[in-house]
């Protein structure tokens, strides 16, 4: 009888194991689309056998050793890293895409207005005293100044919205690091008491992948749990403690600096993730275009002013400045026309000959002669167009390459960690068969037990 009961308990353990397997499979199917979820599998183990003396050892069934998450930490880390790179490039593309439309010709931008201005001067040179032509020069000078202004204002506007993004991004990062610290704490406790912490690990993974689209970081694992720090080593999470980043207004730019919990300015050291992209676009790409534009505006205005001041206007009076501009960071934004009357255009080089156009020719030459860095105004503008176009196309190709790489890595990650419904379906069949077999054993043992109890008489007990 003890032999039969032993078979019964083996069968019971098999029934229990199969049920667990079906449970896990069902949970896998349920979480097939849950972000951060890694498929789980039941790890079975043979139960300790017992000795029967001369016959040797007899097995006593199966036991569920653990439920294991199938995870590849290396792949997880690669996906995070690629996400950090890709989101930075994507952010730059998003920021610079509208900026480049400011420099497309035919839209009344700086290059169009500058051409118009010089063409007006040419026209005026054919008839230097013509009041209509003079008025056209003056009004197109106004258009040119306002094109500089508008472009600069739009660039500053772009910087301001990027700046707002920086603040928002920092607060999202802080929210995530707080949650990560919590999960870390729970993980430490759970692992300390030997619990299955798959669920917490999935959560942790999900939070990390969200964080990686926001900021670049690296993760190190120790007995105290995870340490998450930025690329330059600023800690964000150490075990169950999180360190919040903060923002502070930079006194010279007026934009937000990112400050670590230790009080250090780490703005320039954040280069990846959405935050890195926002900072780069704000402080490097857009700032670079704006600075080129300011250089052009102030040197152009002062070159034209110098020529006009050297000449004589329609009334034979020494010329004055045509443009008013505040040199430096706000040059383009501050540009305006200083002249109040078209007669103040100093076309002539002589106080007595108002019909002379030689000073106009000198003014026209400003357009074709080197202005800054041995480049003409047209070449400088062309340089800005190249700069803007290159910023976008560079970031775009980085972003494209990044997303290709990311798809590849996610494929690999999915091939290890992803839930396959086909696989689960076929597993379910296996588990079903195992369960049926074990159940069959129970019936057989039941029959045999009856036979033994009735001593061969079939009808006595049933």
């Amino acid at each position: 009888m003890s032999g039969l009961l032993n078979a019964l308990s083996s069968a019971m353990s098999s029934l229990a194991a199969s049920q667990d397997e079906v449970n896990v499979s069902s949970n896998n199917l349920a979480n097939a689309n849950t972000p951060g979820y890694a498929r789980e599998r039941v790890v079975l183990e043979e139960q300790p056998s017992f000795s029967t003396g001369t016959l040797g050892d007899l097995g006593s069934g199966v036991a569920v050793e653990s439920v294991q998450s199938i995870r590849d930490p290396l792949l997880d880390a690669s996906v995070q890293q690629e996400t950090q790179q890709q989101s930075a490039s994507q952010e730059i593309v998003t920021a610079m895409q509208p900026v480049q439309t400011l420099f497309v010709s035919g839209n009344g931008g700086v290059s169009d207005e500058m051409s118009a201005f010089f063409n007006d001067l040419q026209e005026l040179s054919t008839s230097p005293t013509d009041p209509t032509l003079r008025a056209t020069v003056l009004s197109d000078a106004g258009n040119l100044a306002s094109a500089f202004q508008t472009t600069a204002t739009q660039l500053t506007g772009t910087q301001q919205s990027l700046d707002l993004g920086v603040t928002q991004s920092v607060s999202q990062i802080n929210q995530l690091t707080t949650q990560l610290a919590q999960v870390n704490g729970q993980l430490i406790t759970a692992q300390g008491s030997g619990q299955n912490a798959n669920n917490l690990q999935d959560q942790q993974q999900n939070l990390l992948s969200q964080l990686s689209s926001l900021i670049g970081f690296s993760v190190t694992q120790s007995s105290e749990g995870q340490t998450i720090s930025t690329a330059n080593g600023t800690p964000l999470v150490v075990g169950s403690q999180s360190f919040a980043l903060s923002t502070a207004t930079n006194s010279s730019t007026g934009f937000q600096d990112v400050i670590s919990a230790q009080g250090q300015d780490i703005t320039s050291q954040i280069s990846t993730g959405q935050l890195g992209g926002l900072i780069q676009a704000r402080d490097v790409q857009v700032a670079g275009v704006l600075s080129s534009l300011n250089t052009l505006a102030s040197s152009f205005a002062s070159a034209i002013n110098t020529v006009n001041e050297n000449g004589y206007d329609l009334t034979g009076t020494q010329g004055t400045a045509m443009f008013s501009v505040t040199p430096g960071n706000g040059a383009a934004a501050s540009m305006s026309v200083a002249m109040t009357s078209a007669s103040q255009i100093a076309a002539s080089s002589s106080a007595t000959a108002s019909g002379d156009n030689s000073n106009l020719l000198a003014m026209i030459n400003v357009g074709t002669q080197p202005l800054v860095n041995s480049q003409t105004p047209t070449q400088l503008l062309s340089g800005i167009v190249y700069q803007v176009g290159n910023d976008v196309s560079q970031a775009q190709s980085d972003s494209d390459a990044g997303s290709l790489m990311l798809t590849q890595l996610q494929d690999e990650q999915g091939s290890v960690e992803g839930v396959s419904t086909d696989e689960e379906a076929s597993n379910l069949l296996t588990y079903q068969q195992a369960y049926q077999a074990a159940a069959r054993v129970v019936t057989v043992v039941d029959d045999l037990t009856l036979v033994a109890l009735n001593l061969g008489v079939e009808t006595s007990m049933s």
């Binding site: 097939a32 610079m96 895409q97 480049q100 439309t101 420099f103 497309v104 290059s111 051409s115 010089f118 063409n119 040419q122 026209e123 040179s125 054919t126 008839s127 230097p128 005293t129 013509d130 002539s348 002589s350 007595t352 000959a353 108002s354 019909g355 002379d356 156009n357 030689s358 020719l361 026209i364 074709t368 047209t378 503008l381 062309s382 167009v385 190249y386 700069q387 803007v388 176009g389 290159n390 910023d391 976008v392 196309s393 775009q396 997303s403 290709l404 798809t407 996610q410 494929d411 690999e412 999915g414 091939s415 992803g418 839930v419 396959s420 419904t421 086909d422 379906a425 076929s426 069949l429």
Partner: protein, 299 residues
Amino acid sequence: MRVNPNMQTDMLSYLQASQNQEQTAIEQLATGLRVNLPSDDPAAAAANLVNNASISADDQYVQNIDSVQQTMTNADSTLSSVITELTQAISLGVEGSTGTQSTSDSQAIAQQVSGIKDQIFALANTTFQGVYLFGGTATSSAPFVEDPSSSTGVQYAGNDQTNQIQIGEGQQVATSVSGDQLFGSGATGVFGSLQTLITALQSGASSDVGTATVQLRTAFDQVNTSRVFYGNALSGLTEQENYLGQEKVNLQTNENNLVGADPTTAASVMSQASVAQQATLEAIAKAQSLSLLNYLPQD
């Protein structure tokens, strides 16, 4: 080998790729441009800006030429009238120098020559669109003024400067000849010679009239020679205009090479992309229905 069971990301990226291609091709076909934004080809966009500036400058050079052509044609035809008047005065001088006229005839001829002098004086002060044509660069006041105190009766108040205008990159031409160069000054100038002739005719001394007529002929030659400038300049301008037209064609070809789209390529890219997109969509639809769960016995 286990494959990624989640095919969605892959499929979406395939779809996106073919959609992107299709969109780019459509944009190229619609705008006729390969470079619509600087990022499409930063170097070409930058070069195109310089090229555009050259096209715009060329258009303006043509405009400059048109403007001065009008002024110069006007000056030239004014001078042609001056020549006619002078020819008339010379034949009157010749008539007066024969010594066969009566004093009253001489007086009448002097009267006629004096009328011619007034006529030429008016012509020398011709304005075009409010600008005096023969005052050098002092164009806002009459270059020739009556001056009874002077022996010639006329004083030149302009200057001897001339404006240059640009008619091509680094190319400038003078737009006028100053009044004193055209008409000369003092006794040997047009007005001096006419005045001498008038005085000689009034005095009735036929030999003086002859000398004065010879003098006037010299002044006439001076006007005629200086006037050639306008004819030469005008034909030079026409040549330059033709050259600029040709250059503009070259620049436009260059623009097309830099940023223009090749419609044949764009059209074929577009049809390829839409075929790819169609195929991807069908593949996705097929793949989604493939699941073992659909084939398991339903009992």
